[in-house]
Every structure is written in structure tokens, then in C-alpha cells.
């Protein structure tokens, strides 16, 4: 099962994605694939909050801010369950800190996620709605929005279930 969980800032999408993943998990090795780069105390606080949410739920945390295909060998030999959080960080890291500096980022992420999906019994992907503030940003940010939008559409196409979380309430889109 592949599931996309989508929502805005503070929407409760992490908590819902964790719940979904643990419900699906029937004894497979369970990974939390964290893509956030840690820069400052605010990031550390965020991680602390998320760790607390996950505590005692059996997740093994793997930190991989980019090139997620590199960790596939180190995952369990048997099929596993993965919660990937989140795509918005992964896309930003690949775009601004990655090896490919242009729109081929989309192809790279598509390929990496496809490989990851093949290793998983259950894959839950968390992504962000960053598209509705009506502001036009600089070129880099606009490119980022476009790529993340395309990535989200791709993810929903490979997902059996797509959920938008609104004020902590899951709304099923697919």
C-alpha cells in the first residue's frame, strides 16, 4: 500500500501519517525516513516534537536529506514499511543542495521514490501544501513550487490512498 498524506503547516498531517503507518504495519521492520536538514535550534525543536510523537511506536529513524536511493541497501533485506517525512524538504534539499541544479530534480525524485516504493510493503509519504498563499516569490522559489507541485501529482498517481489533513481531520481525496 502506498499512501500520500498532504496538508499545510500545523495541520496535523504528521500525527495522522504516523497513525496510518503504524496501523498498516503488521510486523515488518518499520522505518521513519527523515529528510529535514538540521540548521538551527528551531529545527532541533521540531525534531524533538516529532520524536516525542513517534516515541514508543517502533520506528527506526533514518536521516537522509537527499539521495534517498543511497539508503535502500541499508534497509532490511525483507520488505519493510516506511514513513517518509517530508517531500517538501527532500525537494528543497535536492534543488538547493543537491547535485543536479535544474528541473531534472523532478526526474531524480521520481526515480528514487519508485525504487523506494519497490522495497516497501507499505510506504506513507508526507507532503506539504505550500501553494495557496497567493504570493509570487523569486524565481528560485517559484521553480521550487512548480517542482514540488509536479512531485505531489506524481506521488498521488502512484498512491492507492491520498489524504488531505485539515485542522487534524483527514479528508480522503483518493
Amino acid at each position: 500500500m502506498t499512501i500520500l498524506v498532504y496538508g499545510g503547516s500545523g495541520s496535523g498531517k504528521s500525527a495522522f501519517a504516523e497513525k496510518k503507518t503504524t496501523e498498516l504495519n503488521k510486523g515488518n521492520k518499520l522505518y521513519y525516513l527523515a529528510t529535514m536538514q538540521v540548521y538551527d535550534d528551531e529545527d532541533r525543536e521540531r525534531i524533538k516534537r516529532h520524536r516525542k510523537l513517534r516515541y514508543g511506536k517502533g520506528f527506526t529513524t533514518v536521516e537522509q536529506p537527499k539521495n534517498i536511493d543511497k539508503i535502500l541497501d541499508s534497509l532490511s533485506n525483507e520488505k519493510c514499511d516506511v514513513l517518509l517525512e517530508c517531500m517538501s524538504n527532500l525537494v528543497a534539499n535536492e534543488m538547493f543542495d543537491g547535485d543536479s541544479k535544474d528541473k531534472s530534480v523532478f526526474d531524480k525524485i521520481k526515480a528514487d521514490i519508485t525504487k523506494l516504493d519497490a522495497c516497501c510493503d507499505n510506504l506513507v509519504l508526507v507532503s506539504n501544501n505550500i501553494f495557496e498563499d497567493g504570493i509570487t516569490y523569486d524565481r528560485e522559489a517559484e521553480d521550487y513550487k512548480e517542482i514540488l507541485g509536479n512531485v505531489n501529482s506524481f506521488l498521488s498517481s502512484i498512491s492507492e490512498e491520498v489524504w488531505e489533513v485539515v485542522a487534524g481531520i483527514p479528508v480522503r481525496l483518493k
Binding site: 499545510g8 503547516s9 500545523g10 495541520s11 505550500i130 501553494f131 513550487k145 485542522a167
Partner: protein, 132 residues
Amino acid sequence: MILVIGGYSQGKLDYVKKRFSKDKVAIIDAKSFSADITETENNNEKKIVIDNINELVKNSVIDKKNPEDEIKKLLHKFPDSIIISDEVGNGIVPIDKTERLIRETIGRMQCILAEQAEEVIRVICGIGQKIK
């Protein structure tokens, strides 16, 4: 309590007015008050609508108050109210730290309100979808 959420200018207040057109409604704009608001007139028979609760959360963050406490005070005073909030979390992460905090806190407060609400309506293009 009923929670009505939606993006800016999506017709949330109009939705509420239409839906409760048979009731006497008192609209309180949270832009211009803190939770210390006093009941101005005899509001007991009226449906209390608290518009722009996101502004109350924002001001709490700026004034370094606990927004959850502020909301609790308000709900204690108006337990059967209709609360309207702008959804603000669906954009690019703000560069300014306080703005980031405000945005996330509004989201978390909406989660708390939604959990307590008997009903949650999301308004898009003037259309209310019942999501709880």
C-alpha cells in the same frame, strides 16, 4: 461549538450568516478584541459568531501569551459559539521567525478547536463542506 475554516475571502462569514439566517446572530470580530471581551448586550438569546479567531491567536503569539489559554477563556464564555478561522498554513514557509511561529500556532489551534467542535465546516468558494 461549530468551527468554520477556509482560506482568505472564501465566504466563511456569509456561509454562517446564510445558514443561521433564522437565528439572531451576534458577530464578534476577533481582530479587535482580546479574550477579555465583556458581553456588551444581552447575548444570551443570540448565536455568537466569533470571526477571525486566527487574529486572536496571532496577537497571543505576539504578546507572548498562551493562545490555548486565550481560546479556553473564550470558549468558557461562549460555549455554543460558531468560530471562524482563516486557514493560513498552505503557503511557503515565511522567512520571518515570528511569522513562522504564528502560522504554525494558528494551525495547531485549529486542530485543537476541531477536536472539540461538534461540527467542522471547510468553506471553499463559498461552499461549505462538512468535514466533521
